[in-house]
Amino acid sequence: MYSVLVNSGLSAEFVALLPRIETLVVVLFFGLFAMSFDFISGYTGYLSFGHAAFYGTGAYLVVLAANGKIPMLGPETPFMLLIVLAGLAAAVVALAIGSVSFRLSGVYFAMITLGFSQVLYVFVRDWDFVSSAPRDGVAVTGSLDGFRIGVPGVDGLSVAIGQLTGDTIEGLFGFIDLSPTEVSFYAIGAVVLVCYFALQRLVHSPFGRTLIAIRENEERARAVGYNTYAYKLAAFVVSGFFAGVAGALFAGFRRSVTPENGFYFLVAGDALLASIIGGFGTIAGPLFGHLFDETVREFLSKEGGGGGLLPYLRANVGDATLATELYNGLTVAEAIDTFLNGHAALYVGLVFVLFVLYVPNGLLGTARDRMGGTLAKAVPRHVRRWLNE
C-alpha cells in the first residue's frame, strides 16, 4: 500500500505526508501502552501518572532475560513466553503499587503513582546490576537473532522481529515481499490486535461496565454494593499487564531500553497525549491518537530521517524564496530550519492544547458523538441509509 502510494505520481507529497513503516511499528506497541493507560485512566477516571513503571518493567525484563541476567530465564527463553512473563511481572508491580495507591483519589492518586514510578526510575538508572553504565540503558548483547513472535511450538507460524535483525519474507503467495520491518509490523500488529480484542472484551463485560459506573459516580457504585476498591485494583493490574506486554514488544523491536524511554514519567505523558487526542475512554482511540501524534511529529520534524515537511520544502521551494529575508537577517531557509528541525514537540503541544480546549472527547469520541454510537455500528447504518436513498 505504502509502496504503491510512494511510487505514484504524487510521490514527493506522499513521502512527505505519510509516516514510514518504522514509525508505524512504534505506533503499534506504544499505542498498546496508551490503550492500557486509557483502560485505567479513561474508564475509572483515576489518572495513573506513573504508568511508565509497568512499560519499563516489561521492557527491562525482556532485555535482561535476553542477556541472561535473570535467574531461571536463560537467553534462550522463547519471546512469546517472555511477553507473558513481562506482562505478569508488570501486573505484580501494579498490584503492589495499586494496593497502596487506591486508598487515595484525584490528584493525590496521580501523584503517588508518579512517586512510585520515579523511585523505580531513579533506582533503575543507578543500579549497576542492570549494566555497567545503567544511565545509558541496556542493549541486547547476547545473540544477534531477532525475537520470535508466533504460536509456540509451531515453527511455521513464527517470525523474528527487530529493527535490523528480523526476518524477511519473499514470495509469499507468489507476490508478497516483506522487509524485516514490515514483518515486525505484522507480527507486532498481531499481538497488539489480540490485546486490543482482550481489552475490548473486558470493557464490554460486566466488569468494564462497573468501571464506568465508578468513573461516573463512585459513591453510588459503592452504595449499590460494589467493592469499588477491588474493582479498581483489578483494573489497575489488568492495565499493568498490557502495559508490560507493550514494553516487551518495544524492547523486542528496539533490542535496547534506556531509563528515559522506559521508566521516565514523560513516557506516561506521551500515553496521556495519545489518549486525549484519540479520545479518553475509548479503547481504540489511543491507537489513533498515537498515530496522529507520530504522524504530526514525523511530518514536522526531520528527526525521523525519512519524509516530512522539512526535506519537502527544501527540495521544492525555489532558491529565491529561500534566500528572502524575513526579519532582521533571518532568511526563509533559516526560519524553516529553526522552526522545523527537530522541534515537533512544539506543534504536538499546541495540537494537544487545542484538543483539550476544543475537542475534549478526542478524535474517536467526537466521531462517535457525531455518528451517534460506536463506529462499528454507526458506519454501516449510515452507509445503508445512503444506499437506500
Binding site: 484525584g106 490528584v107 496521580a110 503517588i112 512517586g115 522552526f339 499546541l350 492544547v353
Partner: protein, 354 residues
C-alpha cells in the same frame, strides 16, 4: 565489586564494600561521623538552604492550587523560563559593571524583571487558556497545563539554540562567577557554610515572609483565603473572583520566575531546558507532602525534603555508593507520606473540589 557480582541482591550491589564483615564497622564509623556536631550543623545549614530553594519553587504552585484547585503542570517550565530571563538580565547588566555590590544589585534587577515578565505571562495564560475550562473536571486543567509545558519547553529550546545562548562565553562568565562574599565559605566554630547557602536561606525566608504577609495582611490575601474555602460565596459577596484568580495565577508564576533566577545562579542547578522537569518533580513532592494548597504545609514539607536531601547527599558522598540516593529518597518521602497520611501533612480533604 566482587561481592556485587556474586550476590545480585539489592543491598550487596548498591553498596560498594570491600568485604561483608567490615560493613557494620564502617557503618558505625560513618554514623558516628554523621552524628558529630559539626557534620550535623553543616548538613543542617545545607538542608535549610535546599529548603529555601524548594519553598521558592513550590510556593507559587501551592498558591494557585489552594485558590483555584488547578494543579499547574507548567510550573516547572515557568521556573525554567525565569532562569533564562534572569540569566539574560544578568548578562546584560553585569556586562556594564562588575564588583560584588554591583553584581548583587544586578541579581536584584534580574529577580524583579523575571518576576514581572512571568507574572504577565501567567496572567495571560490564565485569561486565555485556563479560564474557559474552570467548569470542567480538574483532569482537563492538568492536561492543559501539561500541553503548555511541551510548548514552553520547545520554544525555550528553539530560542536558546537559535541565539546560541549557553555556549557564549559571556553567559558562562557572568553566571559562573559570584561576588566574592558569596563564593567564600564562612566558618563559625568548625562549621563552614558557603555564602551562597546563606544568601539562598535569606532569599527563601524573605519569600516566605512576603507570601505570608500577602496572605494575612492584604485585601487580596483575604480573598485568596476566602476563595480557597468557598469561591461561590466570595463572588456572591461582590468580589470579582475571576480577577482574583488572574492575580493569584500571575503571582504564582512570578514567584516561579524569581525562583528560576535563584537557580540560575546556583552552580548545582543552572539554567537549562530540562530544568523544567527537574524542578517540577521536587515542587510536586513538596506541595503534596505538605498537603495540597496549604502554605504552612508547603514550608514544613520543604524543610523536611531539604533536610532529607542534604543528609542523603552526605551519606552518598561518604558511605553509600548509589548516585541516585538523594533523589530516590525524596520520592520515597512522597510515597511514605501519602501512605501514612493520604492528604499530606496539613492537607484537608476536598480542597479545591478534589
Amino acid at each position: 565489586m566482587s561481592v556485587a557480582a556474586a550476590v545480585p541482591s539489592l543491598a550487596a550491589s548498591t553498596l560498594a564494600v570491600p568485604s561483608p564483615s567490615a560493613l557494620p564497622l564502617q557503618f558505625a564509623d560513618a554514623l558516628f561521623e554523621f552524628l558529630s556536631p559539626s557534620t550535623l550543623a553543616e548538613v543542617f545549614v545545607r538542608g535549610v538552604a535546599e529548603a529555601s530553594l524548594y519553598v521558592m519553587i513550590a510556593a507559587g504552585l501551592t498558591l494557585v492550587f489552594g485558590l483555584m484547585g488547578v494543579l499547574n503542570f507548567a510550573h516547572g517550565s515557568l521556573t525554567m523560563l525565569g532562569a533564562y530571563i534572569g540569566g539574560l538580565v544578568l548578562v546584560a547588566v553585569v556586562g556594564q559593571s562588575s564588583g560584588g555590590a554591583a553584581r548583587l544589585l544586578a541579581f536584584g534587577v534580574a529577580v524583579v524583571v523575571a518576576f514581572g515578565l512571568l507574572a504577565a505571562l501567567g496572567g495571560g495564560v490564565e485569561i486565555g487558556l485556563i479560564r474557559p475550562i474552570y467548569d470542567r473536571p480538574p483532569l482537563y486543567q492538568i492536561l492543559l497545563t501539561f500541553g503548555l509545558t511541551l510548548v514552553l519547553d520547545e520554544i525555550a529550546r528553539i530560542l536558546v539554540l537559535f541565539y546560541g545562548l549557553q555556549p557564549s562565553t559571556v553567559w558562562q562568565d557572568v553566571l559562573g562567577t559570584k561576588p566574592q562574599f558569596l563564593a567564600a565559605s564562612i566558618g563559625v566554630g568548625g562549621v563552614s557554610a558557603s555564602g551562597l547557602e546563606l544568601f539562598q536561606i535569606a532569599f527563601g525566608v524573605l519569600t516566605v515572609v512576603g507570601v505570608h504577609l500577602f496572605l494575612t495582611r492584604t485585601r487580596y490575601g483575604l480573598f485568596v483565603r476566602a476563595g480557597g474555602e468557598d469561591s461561590e460565596m466570595l463572588s456572591a459577596l461582590g468580589v470579582d473572583v475571576r480577577r482574583v484568580f488572574t492575580v493569584v495565577f500571575a503571582l504564582g508564576t512570578g514567584i516561579a520566575g524569581a525562583a528560576g533566577v535563584l537557580l540560575a545562579w546556583d552552580p548545582s542547578w543552572g539554567a537549562s531546558v530540562p530544568l523544567a522537569a527537574e524542578t517540577l518533580l521536587p515542587a510536586f513532592v513538596v506541595v503534596i507532602v505538605g498537603g495540597l494548597g496549604t502554605f504552612r504545609g508547603t514550608i514544613v514539607a520543604a524543610v523536611i525534603v531539604g533536610m532529607v536531601d542534604s543528609s542523603m547527599t552526605w551519606w552518598f558522598q561518604n558511605f553509600i555508593d548509589f548516585t541516585g540516593l538523594p533523589e530516590m529518597v525524596v520520592f520515597l518521602v512522597l510515597v511514605i507520606t501519602l501512605i501514612v497520611k493520604p492528604q499530606g501533612l496539613y492537607g484537608v480533604s476536598e480542597v479545591g473540589g478534589h
